[in-house]
């Protein structure tokens, strides 16, 4: 009986409850946190409202009005997850009908105790520009990844910290861009092609950079599926061709002792972080 009631309540929550994400900056942190936490519940509120850059009294007042309206429509208090550094804004948000969880409220007291310091209440810049030089480096690194995408350029490859190699559609480009954008890794990528497989060797331009190479592998079935989307019915996309290229690529990695990873079940984020961890790049912060 109790289980049945719980289930009904859960269902209600799912169908009629609204989740608000409120931040004084981008909301990336609180969004990421809530997404992670909600993976731990079978039923999560489906209606989601994200309100970034709520950094003054007027904007908070507007969000409070939205929360109160949602409470009326839903017939229950919305869940509100927030990241507001200013104490006054936080207090105002709490006057809404929502059940407010603020990440600063929840964490700062404990962190303050461990760090033996009071917390200051200024708007955080976790995802803002704190330093132009740093920012410019980031943009430069993204431009590097673009310039050295898919073996388009050879001169200057010496500057790459990492060179991803693999067959077409194994995930090189998005991984390089992500590494550049998020972790400022100067990453180039280079395709392995039919000619390399015939020779059974690394492409010549890569031989001087062997210690910076990292290989990608993917399952033949998944590669076939990805290539079919691009060139349906082609030899390029056929399963036997995918199998042949992948086993030739793997043979090269093994012969040259190049570390490699299977991208089949990994997201761009997971691939990037696994690779950095495996090559010992202390860039994760």
């Amino acid at each position: 009986m109790v289980a049945w009631i719980k289930c009904q309540v859960g269902k209600d929550m799912n169908e009629h409850s609204t989740l608000f994400l409120v931040s004084d900056r981008t909301g990336i942190t609180v969004g990421s946190l809530v997404r992670t936490l909600l993976t731990q519940f079978d039923q999560a509120p489906v209606q989601r409202v994200v309100r970034p850059f709520c950094d003054d009294v007027d904007k908070i007042a507007r969000v409070v009005a939205e929360i109160d309206l949602a409470a009326e429509v839903d017939g229950r208090p919305p869940l509100v997850c927030s990241s507001l550094a200013d104490l006054d804004l936080r207090a105002r948000l709490k006057r809404s009908c929502g059940r407010v969880f603020d990440i600063f409220d929840l964490f700062l007291p404990a962190l303050s105790e461990v760090l033996h310091q009071p917390s200051i209440e200024h708007v955080g810049l976790a995802h803002g520009i704190t330093d132009f030089k740093n920012y410019d480096q980031r943009v430069d690194v993204v431009n590097f990844a673009l310039a050295y995408d898919d073996g388009t350029r050879l001169r200057g490859l010496d500057d790459a910290e990492l060179i991803l190699i693999g067959v077409s559609r194994s995930g090189k480009t998005p991984t390089c861009l992500y590494l550049a954008m998020q972790y400022k890794v100067k990453a180039a990528n280079f395709p392995l092609t039919e000619d390399d497989f015939l020779e059974g060797r690394l492409p010549r331009p890569l031989r001087a950079h062997i210690e910076r190479l990292y290989g990608l592998i993917i399952s033949p079935e998944r590669l076939h599926q990805l290539r079919e989307e691009r060139c349906p019915g082609s030899t390029y996309a056929s399963l036997p061709q995918c199998r042949r290229e992948l086993s030739a690529a793997k043979a090269i990695y093994r012969a040259e002792r190049i570390p490699f990873i299977d991208s089949t079940n990994l997201s761009i984020e997971e691939l990037a972080i696994e690779i950095m961890q495996q090559v010992g790049m202390e860039r994760l912060w």
Copy 2:
């Protein structure tokens, strides 16, 4: 006296304390959270150790050994922020000498109460592949942003949800890539050049897409600095040229009623989120 002691302790903490970030997946969520929280302290631990993918007993045991070693070297317990869905792994981490804060521990009980549901303890996939179709769309959108970078292609521009325009080096490319990578926004970008300014009109290929255009502006001084890095001493980089181009671009935006934003003090994340918010893209989750 009390203030002085606090300050000394704070200083010590900064100099000798280690911060561990431990996750069973990428650690992106807990990293982002801790970065945000530490913006609220003047002194934060400088020594940071990130350990992603700690998803079994052996890996946790290795991290526990590292934490205990750091405690010995530092002469004080490291701060450990973790995101471990498995209760047993969490319990093992807490047996270390570190002061452990786990995001699930801290948030789940309260969230569970509001959601009227017990939490399940399985490894979260906030940054993993939950669905191949979704993942493929993301990669396709990144490829779209690459194909439609800097006005390189006109045919197919109809498919863009958003077209960023602006003078060279105003931030179009990284913003488009970020929008694609993080929010699956099909974003193209198109440069405004001398010819457009002479005509005082939008480039012809853009006129059919006016409702999807969004302009970037930047301060002349910052643009000058960015261009100087690329082409030192050139007319292109000179301050008068930057001023002239920017005021011509702004005149076009105003004449055509194209919304625009000043990118000078905004990070890629902030720019992307501001633009999505202003055009009403409900993609922030």
